[in-house]
Amino acid sequence: MTSATRRSGAAATAVPVLEISDLSVELSIGGRWIQALDRVGLTIQRGEVLGLVGESGSGKSLTALSIAGLLPGNARVAGGSIRLNGEEVLGKSERALNRLRARSVALVFQNPTSYLNPVLTVGAQIAEIFELNPELLEAAGGRPRRREAWRQSIEALRLVRIPDPERVVERYPFELSGGMQQRVVIAMALVRQPDLVIADEITTALDVTVQAQILSLLAELRRTVRLTLLLITHDMGIVAQLADRVVVMYSGSVVESSDVRTLFKSPRHPYSKALLETVPTIDGGRTVFRPIRGAMPALTDPPAGCRFHPRCPDAFDQCSRRKPERLALDPGRVVACHLYEGGAVSE
């Protein structure tokens, strides 16, 4: 645990559900290894929702895939550690990883259709999870397994607020709308009672009114089943509404992590500031938002020093020379920026 994360309040005494430290991942592109994640660190406590934000290519999804041991073939871990409930994940055998994926971590992705089997009914797909993990049915109490699996599948659909679950359980995925499919995928994630749910842009493909339904479902599940959630999104509005803490990534590194209120009230890293300013809001007046100049650098050709410096309005000579160190600014807040080095904190 880094000194910075240790400070994040009383909860630090409990073993975090997830603790990533100094995770570096490389990708093979055009015959050479390039650094895609650079010493990423984040911690999630039980019952906490951590928002992981950044633009595409910032490394959010690669971080998520690393946790589940699902990195693509052209990626390798170059260093660091990922602990789930205190247990190291990196270096585990495929068998052990399978067990982990079955019970500890559940992933929900953007496009539900690609994660549902088109030729099985919803009920058959959920029941399959019980078949593969018979211990989930321990509470069956003498009832035949198959019937119990079916009954619990219906309960799982009820939990994610699917109307008329007794009928939906008999349906095939194509008979359901995108929103309903996403609820089914969430239900399938929850029946395994995982320690951690990773949700990667799960509402991006949905209509806005349906997105609102899924977001209020997540808010509700947070209370009812004390969901521990790694919420990956590019939408600062979703983060503001659901997350307890936020980790901002840029070009493979964590640039700032903080609790959500502090970040939105006083972002410290210039990228966090810029990202918040790009968020257009609707209010009585006109919508305002300020674009960030330039674009995220290609991983194959990153700028020297701080990777944000070519786009940073506050960059000075240090920024192009040296990578900034992570600084623990206030309790629970870590920023990687030269502006705050040597205690030169300006408010």
Partner: protein
């Protein structure tokens, strides 16, 4: 109104679906089902709605990639159904469209130079290659791209560059009216802001008129002067942007506005005011087509379709109980 640059009058587009090998179609999707509005010169007209509402079909009708089943579309007072060959060529030049996916709008084996100059020859905007290249370079400059991209292939550009390029290609022919169909839904948030300010700037500089189509209310709010909200093929509400967003009268508009997660952790705002999902456009609900999702629906809503009528000055709505959802509006006009 006569001073509208673009007008739609009772426009409908129905598509046959299903049906047997022997002809008779089983059903018709009423993708657009009687839509009328006008766009004034210099305006940005925002068309917003969820999937299946018919907003993209309207775009296709306006560029004549589809022909309407009923109704009339006019551009510069000329009926689009009656353009002769010469007028047609002129129309193709004066009306341009930018689609959602810039990657799909570019030939993967064509350099950017070719992509930019080909329409200039097809539409006879220029006579020779030198003039075409000069025009292409000017268009690149307008969208803030370096002329170095001319040699590149689509896959060698970033998402933001590709989006700028398709905008440059649309503008190179010198249009008067540009349809923007989800122009930023394929780019990142920081780029979205860039592209939208670019589009706003180009509109002022080139004296353009826009039809902006988006599912994103924030984008619509930022760009538009007038906004129409569509639901299952019909306009349910239409007003000036300011009026619509501060005093929405249709429960669907209220649901759309309150569905946007507000980027402020202190404001708890996730409100799912529309029930269930958008119904299939094959089976449009009876009466008010929104009634199946509307928390305020009464018997009359299931039985009678409310007409689009002027509820306040310049503010049109199709609802039996306009303003019923007012208390759910997240932003009050006077606060």
């Amino acid at each position: 109104m006569s001073d509208d640059l673009v007008r739609l009058d009772g426009v409908a587009k129905h598509f046959p679906v299903g049906g047997s090998f022997f002809g008779r179609t089983a059903a018709r999707v009423k993708a657009v089902d009687g839509v009328s509005f006008g766009i004034r010169e210099g305006q940005t007209f925002g068309l917003v709605g969820e999937s299946g509402c018919g907003k993209s079909t309207i775009a296709m009708l306006l560029v004549k990639l589809l022909e309407p089943t009923a109704g009339r579309l006019t551009f510069e007072r000329a009926d689009l159904a009656r353009l002769d060959r010469g007028a047609m060529k002129d129309f193709r030049r004066r009306v341009q469209i930018v689609f959602q996916d810039p990657y799909g709008s570019l030939d993967p084996r064509q350099t950017m130079l070719k992509a930019l100059i080909e329409p200039l020859f097809t539409l006879k905007v220029v006579a020779d290659r030198a003039a075409a290249v000069a025009r292409a370079e000017r268009a690149l400059e307008m969208v803030g791209l370096d002329r170095e991209v001319l040699k590149r292939l689509p896959h060698e550009l970033s998402g933001g560059q590709r989006q700028r390029l398709v905008v440059a290609r649309a503008l190179a022919v010198g249009p008067r009216f540009v349809i923007l169909d989800e122009p930023t839904s394929s780019v990142d948030v920081s780029l979205q802001a860039q592209i939208l300010s670019l589009l706003a700037e180009l509109k002022r500089g080139q004296g353009l008129t826009y039809l902006l189509i988006s599912h994103n209310l924030v984008v619509i709010r930022y760009m538009s002067d007038v906004v129409a909200v569509m639901y299952l093929g019909k306009i349910v509400e239409m007003a000036s942007s300011e009026e619509l967003f501060t005093r929405p009268l249709h429960p669907y508009t209220v649901a759309l506005i309150s569905a946007i997660p507000v980027p402020d952790p202190e404001a708890s705002t996730i409100a799912a005011l529309a029930k269930g999902d958008v119904p299939s456009p094959v089976n449009v609900p009876s009466g008010c087509r929104y009634h199946s999702r509307c928390p305020y629906a009464q018997t009359v809503c299931r039985e009678q379709e409310p007409p689009l009528r002027e509820l306040r000055a310049g503010h049109y709505g199709a609802c039996h109980f306009p303003g019923v959802a007012a208390s759910a509006v997240p932003y009050r006009p006077e606060s």
